[in-house]
Amino acid sequence: MELIRIKGVEKQYKNGVTAVYDLDLKIKKGDFIFVIGASGSGKSTLIKMLHREEKPSKGQIIIGGIDVAKLRNNKVYKLRRKLGIVFQDFKLLPKLNVFENVAFTLEIFGVPMSEIKEKTLKAIELVGLKNKAKQYPDKLSGGEQQRVAIARAIVNGPKLLLCDEPTGNLDHETSMEIMKVLEVINNLGTTIIMATHDRDIVNKMKKRVILLENGKLVKDYEKGSYDCNEGV
């Protein structure tokens, strides 16, 4: 079943730079997709358009029935509540502990306290930080902080998880641990789209790979690897 349909999408920034050209994509429910490409190839812009941080200049992006391009600024939260987002710089709130950071999303939605506790603990356990729930972000390693960010992104059970270079700040070993966590989440049914530079990860995971070059979709491999792409 199709979760995302991208049709003729183009993104031109105000300064005149076109980051994405004429993009067409279909993404199935439960897919794990790597978006790869050199810096400035449009990976991040694509991720940003998927969570409506940026609005496409042309074309259509439909996620789970919502036309993202037509979504008004004050309605963006409706889309964001259906997906989880993980960033390279974690974006945790330093004054909240692990539990509070993860529970933050549910609290905003007005979920009852008992449910918050249950879901938050489940998410923290899933990312393997059960014994660090009371710690504050500055006491955690980079990998652990990213796990917290992932737990926060999935705590509401989203159908789609967007990751923008989630391993960009982490060493290889830690990156692989994060990928294991993401694979578990994917196996539970969540569609994952991940923009990355990391050659090893892509090669090892053997997932669908989308290669962007200068804002254009160049290749789309069903079970690809970084090495399929010469010149990247």
Partner: protein, 299 residues
């Protein structure tokens, strides 16, 4: 239920946030405190000056001297005419005998001379003492009375009264302008301080947006926090108004420097001013937060 749950959490979070961002909260609270203290002092003084000018105006009196030749009937006619004049608040008749006796009571010299007079020798004149409703029209009222038959002279301190009135009117208007300006400056200062403190919490707002907070969801805790800050900032100014002003009033026995300058009685004055200060603190705190957060939202 959900609405109450969200509201309850927002109140809790706003309260926590005041303590979590303690130094920023202190910055905002002290800014609110200082500006509200200045506002409260200016309100207290301007209200007192205003009160003083009002009391002075109330003391303005028109004295109407009557012709000694007219009889009781003539006096009654003049009284009826005075009653008809719209600007007349109250009047009092004082016969020349009353005046003579009150003068005699004030000094022995007067008494020695005046007690010799008989009814026909008394050179004083019967008078009406008139208080007006609007002192700005005292001149016109005096002129009207002057034209009545049997009135020989009308005095109300011409010249000085007009000058005083002009000064008082300027002072009253200037005070309103000063207080309004101060309130405006306060609002501006507080809003900017809160804006600065919220600037440092840009990341928090960004994350709230990313995880799916609606705009109102993001603004609400900050607005409630602004309410707390305003409320806390108003505590010291309110105490100054309630205890400080009462102490001042009691210390000077309600009169400042001279018996003419009467202070406004503390009750209910101080409570009205305090209520005003608390409301101003809360409103400005909330507005400041609202304006500051709005800047970081995509609307």
């Amino acid at each position: 239920m959900k609405v109450f749950r969200i509201l309850g959490r927002n109140i809790r979070d706003a309260f926590r946030s005041v303590f979590r961002n303690f130094s920023l909260s202190i910055a905002s609270i002290s800014c609110i405190t200082i500006t509200l203290v200045v506002v409260s002092i200016s309100v207290l003084s301007s209200y007192n000056v205003d009160n003083f000018t009002k009391l002075m105006k109330q003391d303005f009196t028109i004295v109407v001297f009557l012709d000694n030749k007219i009889d009781q009937k003539g006096i009654t006619e003049i009284e009826t005419e005075i009653e008809k004049i719209e600007n007349v608040e109250s009047y009092e008749y004082e016969s020349k005998i009353d005046i003579a006796s009150s003068m005699m009571a004030t000094s022995d010299i007067f008494e020695n001379i005046m007690k010799e007079w008989d009814e026909t020798e008394n050179p004083l004149q019967d008078t009406f003492l008139i208080k007006v409703k609007d002192t700005n029209y005292i001149n016109q009222t005096a002129n009207k009375i002057k034209q009545l038959e049997g009135v020989t002279l009308v005095k109300y301190g011409e010249g000085i009264v007009e000058q005083l009135l002009t000064v008082f009117n300027i002072v009253e208007k200037a005070l309103v302008v000063v207080v309004l300006l101060l309130v405006f400056v306060t609002a501006f200062l507080i809003t900017n301080t809160i804006k600065l403190t919220i600037f440092s919490r840009k990341k928090e707002i960004e994350i709230m947006r990313l995880v799916g907070s609606s705009n109102i969801n993001i603004q609400l805790p900050f607005i409630i926090e602004g309410l707390f800050l305003g409320l806390l900032g108003a505590v010291i100014p309110t105490l100054i108004v309630i205890y400080g002003y009462t102490a001042l009033y009691l210390n000077f026995d309600g009169r400042l420097f001279s018996p003419f300058i009467r202070l406004v009685h503390p009750e209910p004055f101080i409570y009205v001013v305090s209520l005003g200060l608390v409301s101003l603190g809360i409103i400005v705190g909330m507005m400041g937060s609202y304006a500051a957060v709005r800047k970081y939202l995509k609307i």
